[in-house]
């Protein structure tokens, strides 16, 4: 469903030029659960962001369902991100001004549906991640594990076909990490959601169907 071909990403600042990705090729199939591994700074986040249409490659082609995304308009990209992709960030990226349930509702705000059905779906998503008791809290009142579960609820609330998770357990202890992993596994098995997860953790990665390894911006096998 997502295909990356000969992707290169170069960051240019005033003095230095960082090659974050070079010649990356990857085809993600529907229903897959794959993990991306590699040392810090090797380009994992960059790759995930390009896959999730949050960033543009310097070179190469990103295709979604065989269509080149490079020629999509801002509106079309927004609609694709909204309907197809659910992102989970390492540092949660919840909006501190909004309550838990309002945070979870965000993807649904950009769809046409009634406020009550939005609320209903958000509560269901929070239920799936085991957070139905804290819907009125604000992010600052939650622990790291709870925040990440809110972020997952937000990623799944719109039933996207693919979830892109950037080190979802990176800031959590191993018990909470395992809980998050259970939620993702369940989504993959019960709802056939495609999942791409960046992780440092060999044990978590070994539970996935395929492992992509990056080193210094290039794929290694």
């Amino acid at each position: 469903m997502i295909r990356l071909s000969t992707i290169e990403k170069v960051y240019r600042t005033a003095k230095i030029e960082t090659i974050a990705l070079k010649d990356v090729n990857l085809h993600i199939k529907r229903g897959e659960f794959l993990s991306i591994m590699g040392p810090s700074g090797c380009g994992k986040s960059t790759m995930l962001n390009i896959m999730g249409l949050l960033d543009q490659p310097s070179q190469g082609v990103v295709e979604i369902d065989s269509e080149h995304v490079a020629k999509f308009s801002d509106r079309k990209l927004a609609r694709l991100r909204n309907a197809m992709i659910g992102f989970v960030f390492q540092s949660y990226h919840l909006i501190n001004d909004l309550s838990v349930v309002d945070n979870v509702e965000i993807p649904l705000l950009y769809r046409s549906m009634s406020g009550s059905s939005r609320r209903k779906l958000a509560l269901e998503a929070l239920d799936k991640v085991g957070l139905n008791a804290r819907t009125r809290h604000f992010p600052s009142q939650l622990s790291g594990g709870q925040r990440q579960r809110v972020a997952i609820a937000r990623a799944i609330v719109g039933s996207p076909q693919i979830i892109l998770a950037d080190e979802p357990t990176g800031n959590l202890d191993s018990v909470m990490g395992a809980e998050i992993m259970d939620i993702l596994n369940k989504l993959n098995q019960e709802e056939q959601t495609t999942i791409v997860m960046v992780t440092h953790d060999e044990i978590l990665a070994s539970q996935t169907q395929r492992i992509i390894r990056l080193f210094d911006g290039s794929q290694v096998n």
């Binding site: 801002d74 990209l77 927004a78 919840l94 001004d97 309002d102 705000l109 950009y110």
Partner: protein, 415 residues
């Protein structure tokens, strides 16, 4: 979608209480001053009773004579003789009126002292000006020419002098003569010098001899008003008046030139401010316009700044919203709605404060019969001003922010 914007905006404004308060304070203060200035301008220049036809009214309110050696008469107004002979005879205006400026007199009723501002007028005075008659009528051409003892008084005089009793038909003593009240009009502000008075009486009762052959002067000062059938006739009237000036016969050899003009209200005003020798209204309007622009620009720049930094601070929120499907247009919409709401709230506060302050000025009787009112036009102008502020100070920052790639916004970079 708009309802969502509104909900989000209200939530955000409530969460950022300090910012909301600071913005509201700044916006309200600016708009308050703007509304007050607009109201003052409207009160002094706007067409409002009794001067509803200002746009097609010309006046002659000043006059000077120049001698051969360049010396000037100590005018500064044209005499009743001049106005009667050379102005009342003009053909182009629909109506021509002459009257005196107001003059403070003292009168007694049952040993109570009353101070009254009186004004001598002809009957045409009431044709050009639209006084709102609460009771009775103005005096007629015949009343004036046959020196009938009739007067028109204002509401305040009815209350003070007649103490709540019937005024129409009752008599009132002014400058030693008894007059019968035939009309009562609404109070008129002293800032409106042409119509203003407490009591209006036929000019044939004037203590100044109206037929004395002199071109300037005559207590307490006289002026003429000319009503054009249409605004487009104004140049023709001015022209006819200039031609008339060429025909003026000078009563003695000393004087060789008259300096006077038929001007619109704005022209006369800018001449009084010495902005322009000829009484050309353009410099006044340009200065007012520039002041207005500066006035609006400074707070707008300030607001754009506040909003820019506020929106930049929320860059991570923008990144999140983009990552989950908000298009650039949607985000611009969200921030603009937020700004418009906050400026409208600020505008509402300013309007309430303005009504309160104007009410205090009105009731303090600081200026006789001043009545600053917030009419629908000022309200509408204020609303437009608010919307302008809201849109302008929100669109640019939002646009700038919405163009970022989602990752850059998430990272909190503003490049």
């Amino acid at each position: 979608m708009l309802i969502n914007y509104l909900k989000i905006a209200i939530k955000v404004l409530l969460r950022h209480k300090l910012f909301t308060f600071i913005s509201l304070f700044g916006i309200s203060l600016t708009l308050l001053i703007l509304i007050m200035v607009t109201s003052l301008l409207d009160h002094t220049f706007g067409s409002q009773p009794p001067e509803l036809k200002l746009d097609r009214t010309l006046s002659i309110t000043m006059g000077l004579l120049t001698s051969k050696d360049g010396g000037q008469s100590n005018g500064p107004v044209m005499s009743p003789y001049f106005l009667k002979k050379y102005v009342k005879s003009l053909k182009t205006p629909e109506v021509v009126s002459m009257s005196s400026f107001h003059n403070r007199v003292i009168t007694y009723k049952n040993r109570t002292k009353f101070r009254l501002d009186i004004k001598y007028t002809d009957s045409e005075f009431f044709e050009i000006l639209d006084f709102n008659f609460l009771e009775g009528n103005p005096y007629s051409l015949n009343d004036v020419s046959s020196r009938r003892n009739v007067i028109v008084i204002n509401q305040n005089t009815r209350e003070q002098y007649f103490d709540g009793e019937e005024a129409i038909g009752n008599t009132m003593e002014v400058e030693g003569e008894k007059f019968r009240v035939i009309g009562v009009v609404e109070n008129c502000s002293i800032l409106r010098i042409m119509p203003y008075a407490d009591v209006w009486l036929p000019l044939t009762f004037s203590k100044t001899p109206l037929d004395e052959v002199t071109l300037i002067g005559g207590f307490p000062g006289w002026f003429a008003m000319m009503l054009a059938t249409d605004e487009s006739d104004i140049p023709a009237i001015k022209k006819e008046f200039q031609n008339q000036l060429a025909l003026v016969e000078y009563p003695d050899d000393k004087w060789v030139e008259i300096k006077t003009a038929a001007s619109t209200y704005a022209e006369a005003f800018s001449r009084n401010l010495r902005l322009s020798e000829e009484g050309n209204a353009k410099p006044l309007l340009i200065i007012l316009f520039i002041l207005m622009i500066l006035f609006m620009l400074l707070p707008t720049i300030n607001l754009v700044n506040i909003n820019l930094s506020r929106i930049m601070e929320r860059s991570s929120e923008i990144g999140v919203r983009k990552a989950f499907g908000a298009s650039s247009l949607t985000l611009v919409g969200q921030f603009v709605v937020e700004n418009v709401i906050i400026t409208l709230i600020g505008g509402a506060i300013a309007l309430i404060l303005a009504i309160g302050i104007l009410e205090i000025i009105n009731s303090s009787s600081l200026i006789p019969y001043v009545n600053f009112s917030l009419n629908y036009r000022i309200f509408f102008n204020s609303l437009v001003i608010c919307l302008f502020f809201g849109l302008f100070s929100g669109v640019y920052p939002a646009f700038k922010m919405s163009r970022l790639q989602p990752v850059d916004a998430l990272r909190g970079e503003s490049s």
